[in-house]
């Protein structure tokens, strides 16, 4: 079952301490995360929140919020 997109985006915004309006699908993660450690923390939160487990190299391919949402959905169904 896939996670509601809005929930994933909302959680990303919460972890990154950004208004939801500033977190769009095409938003570059580098533009809203102060550093890569915050991104790692965000991924851990998403894994725990949505019961998914990312693979080793998944994070290296994350560039936009949409990439993160798609990855969560992909891992939810795999």
């Amino acid at each position: 079952m896939s996670a509601p997109v809005g929930e994933v985006v909302g959680r990303i915004a919460e972890v990154l301490r950004r208004p939801v309006a500033a977190v769009q699908f095409d938003t570059e993660l580098a533009a809203i995360a102060p550093d890569s450690f915050v991104l790692v923390e965000m991924v851990i939160e998403l894994q725990d929140e949505f019961g998914v487990r990312f693979e080793h190299d998944d994070m290296a391919g994350l560039h936009t919020v949409g990439d993160v949402v798609a990855l969560v959905e992909r891992r939810r169904v795999s």
Binding site: D35, S36, F37, L39, V40, E41, I44, F54, E55, H56, D57, M59, A60, L62
Partner: protein, 319 residues
Amino acid sequence: MTVFVDDIHVALGDVRRDVRTAQAAGATLSTSQQLTDAGFGTHYVCSDDMTAYDLARLAVTPIAARHRRVGAIVYATTLPGNAAMGGADDFARTGDVKHLMRYPASRLQAEFDFAAAFVVGVGQQACTGLLGALRLARGLLLAEPHLDPILCLTADRFPAGAGYEQAYNLVSDGAVACTVTLRPAAFELLGVHHVTNGGLEFASDDETVATYFSYTCEVITAVCAAAGFDPQALNWIVPQNTHSRVAPILARLLGLPEDRLYCPTVRELGHLIAGDALVNLADLQKSGRLRAGDLVAVPIAGYGLNWQCALLRATAAPD
């Protein structure tokens, strides 16, 4: 047969400077304030005349005073240039490649009169090279016990003009040496696990950070499993010196309290290339906090990308 690690000694670059001085020298990408916030305070660099071999000699001197004989020397370098001792000018003049094969391990063997020792170079494992050396030494001793003890070391200095920040870490030049032995000593070496992902050869700093955690958890879990333990049984995790954000994240992923991570030399040394985890291990040994039977994981990540983790068990042996 049981293999032990003993005699950990360190040598540092001869110039100590604080983060402000490092930034003023153009040696960092981050500001001094960012480095301070990340837990770094000072680092050590070699003056122009100090070589990686000089560092190696300094780290090995106290070991040579204790051991008249070693059966092998396993000499790890992170930067390929530190695995040779000059000769480029002679090669350019003559075209003779033998000038490019002046090996520091051979020089060390001769200088300390370790006549019975053969030498092995460990390269291409970046900052994980010393753990690679420990793994080789352990395997050698299990196969050929007469080699006991084996000298392992890592020695690197950055070339002139190099930046001293890698993947958000302030770096120091230095060397660390130790022995791997069959004689009961402070730490039993239960095993070493190593993962390489060559597809990440050109990883950016952010990709290096992004992949650090999952691979580090994997090597910790694997080395524990091979020895019949669960990572939850670890009393200590003694990592390389990194950005202060790393420890809490790693502890959370492993499900361990953060105070089981032990890296007290971050502020003074920064990231001592391949040696800082063993410096932290020696510090833990001296701290009085270690108890006989404690399980200690020593994970290190390096370019390549490589991740290794050694699993050790503290013994009741005297220091």
